[in-house]
Symmetry: none
Subunit: 218 residues, 4 copies
Amino acid sequence: MDEQQWIANLLKENDRDAKLTEKQIKILQAAVETFAEKGYASTSTSEIAKKAGVAEGTIFRHYKTKKDLLLAIVIPTLTKVIVPTVAKEFAKDVFENQYESYEDFLRALIKNRYHFIKKNLPLVRIFWQEFAFHPEIKEEFQKAFTENVYQRFKEMVEQFQEKGEIVELPTASIIRMTITTIGGFFLTRFVIMPEHEWDDEVEIERTIQFLMNGLRKR
Amino acid sequence: MDEQQWIANLLKENDRDAKLTEKQIKILQAAVETFAEKGYASTSTSEIAKKAGVAEGTIFRHYKTKKDLLLAIVIPTLTKVIVPTVAKEFAKDVFENQYESYEDFLRALIKNRYHFIKKNLPLVRIFWQEFAFHPEIKEEFQKAFTENVYQRFKEMVEQFQEKGEIVELPTASIIRMTITTIGGFFLTRFVIMPEHEWDDEVEIERTIQFLMNGLRKR
Amino acid sequence: MDEQQWIANLLKENDRDAKLTEKQIKILQAAVETFAEKGYASTSTSEIAKKAGVAEGTIFRHYKTKKDLLLAIVIPTLTKVIVPTVAKEFAKDVFENQYESYEDFLRALIKNRYHFIKKNLPLVRIFWQEFAFHPEIKEEFQKAFTENVYQRFKEMVEQFQEKGEIVELPTASIIRMTITTIGGFFLTRFVIMPEHEWDDEVEIERTIQFLMNGLRKR
Amino acid sequence: MDEQQWIANLLKENDRDAKLTEKQIKILQAAVETFAEKGYASTSTSEIAKKAGVAEGTIFRHYKTKKDLLLAIVIPTLTKVIVPTVAKEFAKDVFENQYESYEDFLRALIKNRYHFIKKNLPLVRIFWQEFAFHPEIKEEFQKAFTENVYQRFKEMVEQFQEKGEIVELPTASIIRMTITTIGGFFLTRFVIMPEHEWDDEVEIERTIQFLMNGLRKR
DNA sequence: CATGAATGAGTCTTCATTCAT
DNA sequence: GATGAATGAAGACTCATTCAT
């Protein structure tokens, strides 16, 4: 029920309408699980149906095609999760605070994303895997990123460049390095070596220090 | 012809035997191209056959199953390309030199990998995409990495830690940061924003400086 | 409303009972339209429902199966339209007049049918198309034709054979020639070349003359 | 074998190439049979496969879609059967003879078509049924008719109008009446009342007389 | 060695029909 | 009466794989 709730909330079209049926939720859950595990192309609709405990036809009553089902999972993960989470909770959490240093900002950012990824690992995996093969997803992502994240990120960077805390490289490079360093940590942590025993607290702090050393003005 | 040569050399079982017939080469080329573009699961053997200009049955004469064909592409890309290329050319190029500084080593490493990826982008993409879904690949990769790359990398790091050039973090962390930073650059450069206009020379140097700043002992 | 009325009157079970609800009428209209355009087998009930603006289930409340819906359209088109229309209006119009000549009878017949077909083209098309595949329809038609039309037609023919106007061929042959000639005209006119510019008055008269020349005693 | 031969000859793309496999012939036969009996839309490919004694996949190796299979049956029936049969054998038989009278021409025409239809009844039924729903068929037919039949028919009619044998109506009307009268006979004979006991010789002669009476100049 | 026709299990999708609300 | 979510059997079509030539 609890488990059902969050995925339902996450994926329904918007918070007002959208009474997802119980079956719809089960379908989405089963799809997320299976897509994440085997990939979109290798997952059959009959398998999803079986796992969801519904008839195969039921899937197609709600999602006209298999691809619609994928997009129904991935697009909200972007527009609802990256965008508003970023824009509302996350941004409140991250951007709209007044940080005393870029380091503090980094710490907030990395912790926020850490918890988000940990919670939504299957969704993130699906997004990551299918990103390359579905132009719709790629476009949606770039739009979401450009419109919502990039601008705020830029302002943040410039603010601390002006304060003389971080180096005067082009903003784009700084953003890229920040993101890839953090992304690289998450990738190693959650995708490549998830079974390794991680001391997450330490590793996060280490990553922050590394980043700060790399970016600090001196 | 030239094009054919390198992929033939790259993929044939080992440098001695292995007279790949013309058809085999065409099959491998077609497979690499198509797997990279659409993903393994979404590629049909008949499509490969058509693109390679051979009969459908011919593929199965050389590769018992479709998966065999994938592995015939990916495993050598690891064992021949990561391993011996690393061990012979690359390692000659990278590890077996005497570097005056970690920075020089980084520069050699990043440039070597840059050219390799640029040349083998489709192969890298396939590896990257299928990595998650095929345990064989994952294992083979981890074996290759652990046995060949990790140990040499570690020695290199320790050498410059002793010299007092780089910081005394755990070797594993330093390796991870080095690799993810470089990997992050390549990912952005070749996968996420390949169409962006890059000044590669500048960007590489920037990445090196960032890494060095992050790792330098102070 | 007007449009609704005639199809309602045409199709309701019989003139007394049969208060077809508004929804029923809409279903029938949608079904007629779609069956005529795409054929019975290629029409889905959901399509009809959508076109009629009712829920899918509603159709099955009124017609147990899809085939029932077809028969609800076709059978009245026969029993109400061929039979009573023939027997009452048409027959009043056609058979029960005293014609001075077979030619006058033909003229009345062809004009009456011309207007009927023009008005009911979709119904006629459905009947025509499905005739071959549904024994019920075939039987119903043959019954209706034999019981109601053939006998009266025969009397008409014999009457003018006795008067010496038309030739002494077997009645069946004369009826067949009359019907196929007229039918052939309608077929060309409404099915094969509907978009051709027809001068119907002239063409009808020409058909009558042709028939009379073919049948006239000399 | 014999049975197989004619349908193979009839349907293969052209007399030279076209080695239809045994299986292909079986598929075509099964398809013709079933389409004729139940209509295209109501026939399933699995049914055809079963009847043909092949795997369902085999059908799609030869005909990319179910509709392709239909067209592979119907179009040759037009272009090979209407056209060249008309243009070569039939036309030799019918048009290129020197007829002494329109009546002789009619007799040749009707007998030729009588045998053709009798032999190819299923094909004719399919054509007739699907004509209305598939624009491709309609267009192909109109092309075939206009290009091959109409012109020759017209010359024939005009020739006998000049000789004063037949009436001076517009050629189009005369052709239409000729065709619909003959068509009407065939329709009644083969479609509407095939089980009736027909004395075909007599009925054909009667039809000719009727037509001639209708068209004779007087 | 290479071919390509043949296979049949499996894929996504549609559809007539049912039934709880 | 009307709805529309749910069903599952059936539909068209795909595909990896085999095998006779």
